[in-house]
């Protein structure tokens, strides 16, 4: 019999908040974390708005020593801070550096979509091109290797179970939760820190700007620039940050009297195979629909029981297709779709961290019984208009929420879906 898995810790570094308490407030208020980005302007980006967590360096300096910080680029800092918050939130103490005990029952699956491009762009390429390779020092490799994200966290918390970094583009964060769920269910771990992180760097975002998939029309109004489900959506707003959920077996959580945020009822991951309209950059709608259906089946949740959708919803032309896929998967006619929102309307698109930050947001909405607003879509896209009544333009109190679904869809035609159930103790 497979084991039940619950969320006992949350941590977040987001463009609109540096901890879970502030994130909860920001979600309720609909606070945007999107700002004009000077580096993007200097580099001639069409889009000059981004979501960058604020005040992170000061926070990191208060928690990590100078030697560690020398080897921690932005993604590492976000991941370590969010993981440490999740760990503390679950009731655990940070182990002392000179304590040799290893927690063999806890691991980490913390993904990243792109990796340490700030280190690559600001250090590796300039120094190597200038013939000064030896000046890179010892810290370049650990900052550009994809697994540096999870490896950094394992060192902070002395984790001894599986520690790895998954990478599935924009479905990375949700996929990490799905992978951690499976590991705990199978009895291979008691606890897994799951989520993802993405650094803040123009080098990371430049390719998307060149593809013309970033929003260019709201550079003078940053807080209006991320417009999922809007008729005037013109692309996504790049963002950075990290979200981490501590998943734990129910028996472990109960045995130690842990506070439970929610149950991870089910999850699914799949790929559309780059067929039926799917490609490296677009989803096969059948793949999206099937992923949602698989997640619900895995969680033993009927299509009619879903109360809240936190969509992938990036503010690109894929939004109408996504809403159609939700309606098809949940077998809902216009007017009956569950409330559907997009955290990206506030914090932008955190790429490999997106699903992770949004899983934290979804867990908070479920636990506290509300839905945060989907900002900037008062002019609902005409193809989404039949479902307009399901879109909250302001926060709504929904104390009856029982089931929330978060999905992420990524380049490569990959999909991930996480089904959360309210914990009624």
């Amino acid at each position: 019999m497979r084991r039940r898995v619950v969320v006992t810790g949350l941590g977040v570094i987001a463009p609109n908040a540096n901890n879970v308490d502030d994130f909860l407030l920001a979600l309720r208020k609909g606070s945007s974390g999107l700002r004009h980005n000077e580096a993007m302007e200097e580099s001639g980006f069409g889009c000059q708005v981004a979501g960058v967590p604020q005040g992170v360096d000061a926070l990191a300096e208060s928690l990590f020593d100078e030697g560690d910080l020398m080897a921690m680029n932005s993604g590492h800092r976000y991941a370590a801070l969010a993981a440490l918050e999740a760990w503390n939130d679950a009731g655990f103490e940070r182990p002392a550096r000179d304590d040799d005990a290893v927690d063999w029952n806890t691991g980490a699956i913390l993904g990243t979509g792109i990796g340490g491009m700030d280190t690559t762009g600001e250090k590796v390429v300039p120094l190597v091109n200038a013939g000064k390779t030896r000046r890179l020092g010892s810290t370049a490799v650990e900052q550009v290797m994809a697994s540096g994200i999870s490896a950094r966290v394992s060192g902070v918390l002395a984790l001894g179970n599986q520690v790895t970094t998954n990478s599935s583009a924009c479905s990375t964060g949700a996929e990490a939760v799905a992978l951690g769920l499976e590991r705990i269910r199978n009895g291979q771990a008691e606890r897994m820190l799951c989520g993802g992180a993405e650094g803040a760097s123009r080098y990371l975002w430049a390719g998307f700007d060149s593809m013309r998939v970033l929003c260019r029309g709201f550079n003078d109004e940053p807080e209006k620039a991320s417009r999922p489900m809007s008729a005037s959506a013109g692309g996504f707003i790049p963002a950075a940050g990290s979200g981490v959920l501590l998943l734990e077996s129910l028996e472990s959580a109960v045995a130690r009297g842990a506070r439970i945020h929610a149950e991870v009822a089910g999850a699914a991951v799949n790929c559309g195979g780059h067929r039926r309209g799917g490609s490296m950059t677009a989803p096969n709608p059948d793949g999206v629909r099937r992923c949602i259906e698989m997640g619900l089946r895995d969680g033993g949740v009927a299509t009619g029981d879903v109360d809240l959708i936190n969509g992938h919803l990036t503010a690109t032309s894929a939004d109408p297709n996504e809403v159609r896929a939700w309606a098809a998967a949940l077998q809902r006619e216009p007017g009956t779709l569950p409330v559907i929102t997009s955290t990206k309307s506030m914090i932008g698109h955190g790429l490999g961290a997106a699903g992770a930050m949004e899983c934290v947001a979804t867990t908070l909405m479920l636990r506290h019984g509300f839905v945060h607003p989907a900002l900037n879509c008062e002019d609902v896209h005409p193809e989404i208009e039949p479902h307009a009544a399901s879109i909250p333009h302001t926060a709504r109190e929904l104390p009856e929420l029982e089931i929330a679904v978060k999905a992420g869809f990524g380049f490569g035609d990959v999909n991930a879906c996480v089904v959360l159930r309210k914990w009624n103790s």
């Binding site: 020593d65 100078e66 030697g67 020398m70 550096r97 030896r134 000046r135 020092g137 010892s138 810290t139």
Partner: protein, 82 residues
């Protein structure tokens, strides 16, 4: 530069890398950098780059091979500087 001046500047450079700050506080010429101060061996290349910047020197990799203690660092730097 006196030996004492160089010693102080070497200690300052080693500070962020030393995991044993108590040992660093009581360090002497004979203190071993890896075993005594618990500096991660991978970070020695960063320490050497910092020496180059601090003292405006070039330190070839082969000159670092015999450096084990804080005193070895000081002697190497004074030798290069002269």
């Amino acid at each position: 530069m006196t030996r004492e001046e160089v010693f102080e500047r070497v200690i300052k450079i080693l500070t962020p890398h030393a995991k044993d700050q108590e040992a660093l506080a009581s360090a002497s010429d004979t203190t071993n950098i890896l075993d005594g101060l618990k500096v991660n061996s991978a970070r020695l290349v960063d320490v050497v780059l910092a020496f180059e910047d601090e003292f405006d020197l070039e330190i070839p990799d082969e000159d670092v091979d015999g450096v084990n203690t804080v005193g070895d660092c000081v002697s190497m730097i004074l030798g290069k500087a002269s």
